[in-house]
Symmetry: C2
Subunit: 565 residues, 2 copies
């Protein structure tokens, strides 16, 4: 564990790919890092701090060769939302709280990783994750309209912000809006046409794609040049300003108890969301590359990355969607690519921060908007709606909840809806009356097949686990079916689909047994699975069962006597 396996198995042939990917990713990470720091309400250089040591930590403990760890849009948004309650954006208290948030988030991920709780990643269903991502992306888009258009009204949140922007359209700073909108247009155009265009010019497809991905860095440098030459900074165009030069000073955030109490829950949610999104990216990459990926190692890797972010005085990090795709496309073979990327960031911090003094804020806003636009995914909603309306509803409510009430409420809503639909689905189980397929030992639904039944004997198959959510409903349905039978003497519950009977359901079965007993009907079980039977064996229900437990339907059908005439 101290020396990661990719180091022990490194071959020289992997180096070229790792080198290219590391350089390309760094070119993307510099503008994105600064933009996401701004999104989190922090000075831009902290975005570069968050792009250095966390990558080293992840390369050491993480399991994915291609996951690009660092600042990501959704986590930056959640950071801003968590810290907004604590201090004024950009203030020293705010910056200190951001590092503490990363520390708490990292420690909890590391703890979960050591406890091997990686399966937690499956607490969130794909529709909820997708709805969450769309909602968060919309929130981010709305929030970036202000810096993009050079508006100066105070920041509000979500929908209120949108109406503020519309009401203040007169106050748009035309130069800012022109720079921002043309940057955005170039970013979007380059994404859709540049790679294809370069390919048509004879450049190999992979190389064209990589070059097209460098557009953000080119536009950042180009805009800095233009601002310098045209003197736009003096005409009211907001720029980044002086950045502190040099590598991040290392420190450990002071865990002030009152602040820890306020930040612990947001830190857990941020950690969990970052983890879920990283696992989603990393596992789809691992699948595509035929590699293995371990959710527990991811927990440890992301935990270490966040602790590294905290020590750097930065803010929470995770694995990014789009950057990971670039990283993989550019040829990343091992985590060495991440280390090379970190090295480039370190060189930028050491020698080139002065370069970004004149970087326009509106260009960073355009970078963010271009990065999160693809996350707004309405087509996925349409296809989910066609397949499963409950899932589509959970997706839509999560997205709407995030936009209307913020990320935490949105996630809570999504999780609650997923669980509710799970309970709801299991709460109305299918119950079939079964009979013997003539001449065989098979038993099938009487409504769908030509089968043999016998007066006085009723065989019911329950197609769901029995638990508190459906125990009462099953009991009620079984009673109702029995009431319709005249001369009923034996009821056989066919348990072939039941893998679990919880305490509530056991009590319901006891109530059913007694109720049938008063009507003179014996209750039998058939096809009970081994583990279920093992548990039931010790209960009062089986001890005083009026009927018998049969191995198979056929055994029950053969053993139970014909009714007396």
């Amino acid at each position: 564990m101290l020396i990661p396996s990719w180091v022990r198995h490194y071959r020289r042939g992997l180096l070229a790919g790792d080198l290219t990917a590391g350089l390309v990713s760094a070119m993307l990470l510099v503008p994105q890092g600064m933009a996401y720091a701004a999104l989190a309400g922090l000075p831009p250089h902290l975005g570069l701090y968050a792009s250095l040591l966390p990558l080293v930590a992840y390369a050491w403990l993480g399991s994915s060769a291609v996951l690009s760890v660092g600042p990501v849009a959704v986590i930056a948004l959640m950071t801003a939302s968590a810290l907004g309650a604590v201090a004024a954006p950009g203030s020293p208290e705010y910056i200190a709280a951001a590092a503490l948030l990363a520390l708490l988030s990292g420690l909890s991920l590391l703890l979960f990783g050591l406890l091997r709780l990686g399966a937690m990643a499956h607490l969130l269903s794909h529709p909820v994750i997708s709805g969450f991502t769309t909602g968060a992306a919309i929130l981010i888009l709305i929030g970036q309209l202000r810096p993009l258009l050079g508006l100066t009204m105070p920041s509000a949140s979500g929908v209120a912000m949108l109406s503020d922007v519309v009401r203040n359209l007169d106050d748009i700073h035309l130069l800012t809006a022109a720079v921002g909108l043309s940057t955005l247009a170039l970013l979007l155009l380059s994404r859709h046409w540049l790679a294809a265009g370069l390919h048509r010019l004879g450049i190999p497809e992979a190389a064209s794609a990589v070059i097209a991905r460098l557009t953000p860095m080119v536009l950042v440098l180009g805009s800095i040049g233009l601002v310098h030459v045209a003197g736009w900074a003096d005409q009211g165009l907001a720029v980044t300003g002086e950045l502190p030069a040099g590598l991040p000073p290392l420190m450990l955030p002071w865990p002030e108890p009152g602040l820890v109490a306020v930040l612990l829950l947001p830190a857990l949610v941020i950690g969990l969301i970052g983890f879920v999104e990283s696992v989603a990216v990393a596992s789809s990459m691992a699948r595509a590359r035929g590699e293995r990926m371990s959710a527990d190692a991811e927990l440890r890797g992301l935990g270490a990355a966040n602790i590294a972010a905290a020590v750097s005085g930065a803010f929470p990090v995770a694995g990014g969607f789009s950057r990971t795709a670039v990283h993989a496309e550019a040829g990343a073979n091992t985590a060495l690519a991440g280390l090379i990327c970190a090295l480039v960031i370190a060189l930028v911090l050491a020698f080139a921060t002065g370069l970004f003094t004149l970087l326009p804020s509106t260009v960073l806003a355009a970078t963010i908007i271009a990065a999160v636009l693809p996350l707004v995914d309405f087509r996925r909603f349409a296809s989910t709606w066609r397949y499963d309306r409950a899932d589509a509803t959970a997706m839509a409510c999560t997205a709407a909840g995030v936009v209307a009430f913020g990320v935490e409420v949105g996630v809570a809503l999504g999780v609650a809806l997923s669980l509710a639909s799970l309970v709801w689905r299991s709460s109305r189980p299918h119950i079939a009356v079964v009979g013997q397929v003539p001449g065989t030992e098979h038993f099938r639904n009487v409504l769908r097949h030509q089968v043999v039944t016998r007066p006085g004997l009723l065989m019911l198959r329950v197609d769901e686990n029995l638990f508190f959510g459906n125990a009462e409903a099953v009991l009620h349905r079984v009673e109702k079916i029995c009431t319709g039978q005249t001369g009923l003497r034996d009821l056989v519950l066919v348990m072939s689909s039941v893998s679990h009977v919880d305490t509530t359901a056991l009590e319901a079965l006891e109530a059913l047994h007694d109720k049938l007993g008063r009507r003179g009907v014996a209750l039998h079980f058939a096809e009970v699975k081994g583990p279920v039977l093992d548990r039931l064996a010790g209960t009062a229900l089986i001890a005083r069962l009026s009927g018998r437990v049969f191995l198979s339907n056929w055994e029950a059908f053969s053993a139970l006597p014909e009714p007396r005439q």
Copy 2:
């Protein structure tokens, strides 16, 4: 609906039972009502107000003939906990807020009833309800030690209160403690021995039981007499004091928006808990009496009862455990028994409130303790632990949560644990490799049966619905099983236990399909249930499926070709 069915079908033969039950219940309700009002932090006469109109409203709209609606211990405790944040106990604001709490609770129950959401009662599993009841009973017991022993230190909550009591044992008011503890002893002894003793003296069993239930009223009246004769009120024994005479003045609580915002969530929780407990009592009674009971009608009945409590200026009500048992035992046949009980309470309020001026508070505390002691149920924990450790854990955590953090947190913890264990159980489904039982069309687990398999063909049966909580795990397990097979060409997923495939699981199946495809293995399905197949039919997975969808295992086994040699 305007005239309840019990009125339309009333027969004179039912009257004797209803009359007895009404009188007996009133004798129990007078001391309990006053005691629970004190428990809720309210003046005792409000407990009588809560025992009058709510009974009339429930008799009109409720569905149970024997449910005894009125003040109950757990709801009184929750009322105190909700109002503690709003005003000082006993103050006019506190009293007004109690009525508003009843109004909000009643309106939400009524709304749920009109929406026919009675199935909500099954959101809470029996172990959680049982753990909650035990925890709440312990909280109540601890809280009543103060009035029982005549201690005067300020009230704390839960465990802190217990240590306060222990530290202040020197300050016990000996006369108060003597009266309280002897009342408690008499109550407990009468419960265990009085009925049997009377029966041995020749009184019929049912009558003995009813007479024994009158003990609380006898002790209340006896203690009042003693206090009067011995002048104990002048020796520091706390008594109830002057109660306002007459029927409750009707009013509608003023829904002050700020207060509504604070009380709405507690009101919903109180309504839900009261509903769940009432349904638990009413449905076990209905089962024992062979009657039907409707959860939706209960919602409307309890909703109306709480609105009636609000209009009376009282506090939230529900159906009580022990009182309902007494009510049924005493012969209640229809809701008329409740109306007769209400009439007696009205007579007490109109003419006999003066009687209770000298009622010692310690006697009320003893009444509460005796009433909630049977709710502390550790044996049930033991039996649940033997049957299902997850359920027992949920039960213990709910009880501990209620005692340590209060009722709301306890309930939330219990619900979360129930849902978590539901997801956890379904997250590790049983997957069996199946083969043909020789000479039949049956397919069984290769590990348990002598079956025929064929090289190149693998048939896997998944014994659980496929959903976000287990999709990844199933995928992983299936892949692992496949990896162990050399020369695998066809994988058949046997879906006989799968009633639902959600969006997340569908995506996992697609990923499995593609992964198998790259290995040259075709994916087939067999025994897919009708509704599942209907949904899958429209998906990309089925459209581009490398294999086929077979009706039965046998069809798949027969149709898939032998491997080329």
